[in-house]
């Protein structure tokens, strides 16, 4: 028998592990567009953690900001400064 507290905390732990993987890939990837997508994936995992930790009003603000507006802003920036890290896009 699985208790609801274990289901909720297990979902939070699963999202936390997923966010660690997404953060590592976002920092280590040399393609800035893929790094941005991994950053949005990390934000989605954080939204699930906030939902499990009983903060639904945070989720209502955090999902449009961190998965919608913030990638749009950085995407417009990447389009102008070049997509790849290491001097290929700039110079």
């Amino acid at each position: 028998m699985i208790e609801p507290v274990n289901v909720a905390l297990g979902l939070a732990a699963l999202s936390a592990v997923l966010s660690v993987i997404a953060t590592y890939l976002a920092v280590s990837d040399r393609d800035l567009l893929r790094a941005l997508i991994f950053s949005a994936l990390q934000s989605t995992a954080y939204a699930i953690i906030f939902l499990v930790l009983m903060a639904p009003d945070i989720v209502l603000v955090y999902v449009p900001v961190a998965v919608g507006i913030y990638p749009a802003v950085v995407l417009a920036l990447i389009k102008r400064v070049g997509r790849f890290e290491g001097g290929e896009g700039g110079e």
Partner: protein, 131 residues
């Protein structure tokens, strides 16, 4: 809380610590300014998640969960408020994080415009070649 729930909570906490470390590494060691911006956003999100974790509370009993700090039963009177205060999580960190998310968006847009002007002036966003 038994040992399994404690270990699940510790997984969440140590994942947040690991995210802080990885994001700090990205801010300090990556030469690209856009990568620094992405890492700094992850760092601020992790700080917000720590604040939410501080405001959380343990389950009152295995059957009933803690509730969000929203009073849904308006006509319940004093008993409804007392029952909410015994079960709800702390609303103060949630109010602070709600403000911090919006301010973080404004800071992100400001830093993006600064990076764009840097690119127009110097022709690159790499820190090591623009000395």
């Amino acid at each position: 809380m038994n040992e399994f729930e404690v270990s699940l909570s510790l997984i969440v906490l140590f994942s947040l610590f690991a995210n802080t470390a990885i994001a700090l590494y990205g801010v300090f060691s990556k030469p690209n300014l856009v990568k620094k911006l992405i890492s700094m956003t992850i760092l601020s999100d992790t700080a917000n998640a720590f604040a939410i974790v501080i405001g959380y509370r343990a389950w009152p009993s295995p059957e009933e969960s803690p509730v969000p700090p929203v009073l849904t039963n308006i006509s319940g009177g004093y008993a409804a408020v007392q029952e909410l205060a015994q079960r709800s999580v702390d609303p103060l960190p949630q109010a602070l994080v709600l403000t911090a998310v919006v301010i973080g968006l404004a800071v992100t847009i400001f830093l993006a415009s600064i990076i764009l002007h840097y690119h127009r002036t110097h022709g690159t966003v790499e820190m090591v070649v623009s000395g």
